[in-house]
């Protein structure tokens, strides 16, 4: 039961991270840069 819970959390994190890393992050940064919200100390892109 405990093992199953830990595994479920890890797999969910991996799925969320993949979606964030491969889809959402780039899109959000691109949108921020297009709006000019990116500050001088922001390491834009990756």
């Amino acid at each position: 039961m405990v093992q199953g819970l830990i595994v479920a959390v890890i797999v969910a994190c991996a799925a969320a991270w993949t979606i964030w890393h491969m889809f959402l992050r780039g899109w959000l940064r691109k949108r921020a840069a297009a709006k000019g919200d990116c500050g001088p100390d922001c390491a834009c892109g990756d």
Partner: protein, 631 residues
């Protein structure tokens, strides 16, 4: 915040960071200067929306003020052509939304070769960019006997000038002092002051640069002949190619032979770690996830690190020595025949180790279409991840016999698979350039730098940086994907009373059965189809997957080979090999293509065309083999 906005210092507050950008022609020593100024205080990222590398570091000025240094991509002119040059121009002119205009631009010039940088200096002078010039490699210029009238050059370009030797940190303190003085007296750049010059204006600028060079630089009384003598050999149409082949052979040997012990060590390390975890955790899904998913997944990436480090060590050493520019020049004509740019040879060579650093190395190609063509064909080069698959199938199906009395048949098939990858890469590049980007061929303009001894510290720093980037980018992506693929292979578990292997009942098994009708015509059974699924994380994982599917340990490839020889037909085995020549199943490569092109379009196109090629090749091979009675 807009790019041109100037932040006024508030009374009593800490002084605003002084922003400095390094600009110059390629190979002028910008990165060496960046390293000399900032040491290890660096941050590497990308500019927003593009995959042009953004390197920023900092140092403290004499008055305690923080100075931020930006290392910009090399350019010959503000009339930018490549994405890298556009970034440089926009940063220098303060037109990039995400990057405030620099307070001072340091124009880094190769003191031994001023002609093209003078034109860039004149363009900057015309816009009124606050700049200082660093006459870098001044020691080599002095040794060559070049006499540079620095005072007159300074008046002509309207910027203070200082001699530097970045690799030895010579002149760095004076350069920083000069930057601070220039910043104190400079007015901010007006972004609208620049417009793209016409061809006539460019020619006029070029004539002006030549006039300044004649007036300010006296050629040596006794010219240095070392570079000339070496170039007589290294740029010779025959001898040059032979030397290049020798260098490439050495590089290949090093990548495969030198890396082997380290790769074995890495493998053993991960096996030991997996065994140790096995003793800590009870049997169950958590142990399976950590051992088979996380440790094996991370291990499958880290194992390539020695190859990456050795490859980049060679590339950086040759680049610093000044040979890479010559190699690109030599190969431009050969690669050009297939529609590839001369500089594509570095990425394609890197792709023999792994397509990921190969695709990352396409950043050296300026033209967008040249770069995309190279990215599209790089995965066709036989990467080392295909080797376990080739070795398994060849040893199981190709007899151990001699051809013509001295050639090993298995070795010949192995060589044929490598050659098939190379020929298909050149053919696809040719087709892509002829059909899609026919009229877009760009001339190959490049300044050949003088030969110089590489700086060991600089080389070490760059190699470590490449290793770090590789581990961060490939490792993180593959880790998450391996966890997800493990999940697909492990769930749902086999029902009670099941007789087949558990993977048969998993999501991966279901997918394998679902796609079996599609892959049936090329001779693949469902087990082969299942192996293609985990093979998406990394191609060699297909070997382990086949071992699992056939309920035999993946480590014992000789047993697995015997099992395959018993259960597969020769036609299916050959079709499997043909499939893997073109196999697009490497998710991390597709992810890197997405990152490098900043679009899903290109990884999708790559996946589709490689899948189509793989399918057609496997189909033809299978049908021919069946016709010859191998089915």
């Amino acid at each position: 915040m807009t790019a041109a906005k100037v932040v006024e210092p508030v009374a009593g507050a800490a002084p605003r960071t002084l922003r400095v950008a390094l600009v110059g022609n390629p190979n002028s020593g910008k990165t060496a200067m960046f390293n000399a100024l900032t040491g290890s205080r660096q941050k590497v990222a990308n500019y927003a929306g593009v995959t042009v590398e953004r390197k920023e570091g900092h140092l403290m000025g004499a008055d305690g003020r923080r100075i931020s240094i930006l290392d910009l991509p090399g350019t010959y002119s503000l009339r930018a052509r490549s994405p890298d040059e556009v970034i440089t121009r926009d940063v220098v002119l303060g037109r990039l939304i995400s990057e405030p205009a620099p307070d001072v631009v340091v124009l880094v010039a190769d003191a031994t070769n001023l002609r093209l940088v003078l034109r860039l200096g004149l363009e900057m002078k015309a816009v009124g960019i606050p700049a200082v010039m660093a006459l870098n490699m001044i020691d080599i210029a002095e040794r060559q006997g070049l006499d540079i009238d620095v005072d007159r050059l300074s008046r002509e370009l309207a910027m203070p000038i200082i001699g530097t030797v970045a690799t030895r940190r010579r002149g760095m303190e004076d350069l920083v002092r000069l930057i601070e003085e220039r910043a104190a007296s400079a007015a901010p750049v007006q972004p609208s002051a620049w417009r793209e010059p016409s061809a006539v204006e460019l020619r006029a600028l070029h004539r002006e640069a030549e006039r300044i060079q004649k007036a300010c630089v006296k050629p040596p009384k006794r010219p240095d002949t070392f570079t000339g003598r070496l170039d007589d050999v290294l740029l010779h149409p025959v001898a040059g190619i032979l030397v290049l082949l020798g260098v490439l052979f050495l590089m290949f040997q090093a990548v495969f032979a030198w890396a082997a012990p380290l790769m074995d060590l890495s493998n053993s390390g991960f096996e030991a770690l997996s065994a140790w975890v096995g003793t800590l955790l009870p049997e169950g899904i958590l142990k399976s996830l950590i051992s088979d998913g996380i440790i094996a997944g991370v291990g499958s990436v880290v194992v390539f690190l020695p190859q990456i480090v050795i490859l980049f060590l060679f590339i950086i050493l040759l680049e610093d020595f000044g040979y890479m520019a010559r190699a690109a020049f030599l190969l431009d004509k050969i690669m050009g025949g297939a529609g590839l740019h001369g500089r594509a040879f570095i990425p394609l060579l890197s792709s023999f180790a792994c397509a990921i650093p190969g695709i990352m190395a396409t950043r050296v190609i300026d033209n967008k279409h040249d770069r995309l063509t190279t990215i599209l064909v790089a995965p066709l080069m036989t990467c080392s991840a295909r080797i376990p698959v080739y070795t398994l199938i060849i040893s199981a199906f190709i007899p151990r016999q001699q051809v013509m009395g001295f050639l090993n048949l298995q070795g010949l098939v192995f060589f044929g698979l490598y050659a098939a990858g190379l020929v298909s890469a050149l053919t696809v590049a040719f087709v892509v350039r002829k059909i899609f980007w026919r009229s877009d061929a760009e001339p190959f303009l490049m300044e050949l730098p003088a030969y110089k001894t590489p700086d060991p510290l600089n080389v070490l720093r760059n190699v470590l940086q490449r290793a770090q980037i590789f581990l961060q980018r490939a490792g993180t992506t593959i880790l998450s994907m391996m966890i997800l693929i493990w999940f697909l292979c492990a769930f749902p578990g086999a029902p009670s009373g099941a007789t087949g292997p558990a993977i048969d009942y998993s999501f991966a098994g279901m997918i394998g059965h679902a796609i079996e009708p599609v892959l049936g015509p090329v001779g693949f059974n469902w087990q082969m189809s299942v192996a293609l699924i985990p093979g998406m994380a990394a191609r060699e994982v297909a070997v382990g997957a086949l071992g699992t599917v056939y309920s035999i340990s993946g480590d014992n490839t000789s047993l697995l080979g015997a099992s395959l020889a018993h259960q597969w037909s020769l036609a299916s085995a050959l079709a499997f090999l043909a499939w893997y020549v073109f196999a697009p199943q490497c998710a991390s490569t597709l992810a890197v293509v997405k990152r490098e092109t900043n679009s899903w379009r290109w990884p999708i196109i790559m996946f589709l065309y490689m899948t189509a090629l793989a399918y057609v090749a496997a189909f033809i091979v299978y049908r021919i083999a069946v016709a010859f009675g191998a089915g």
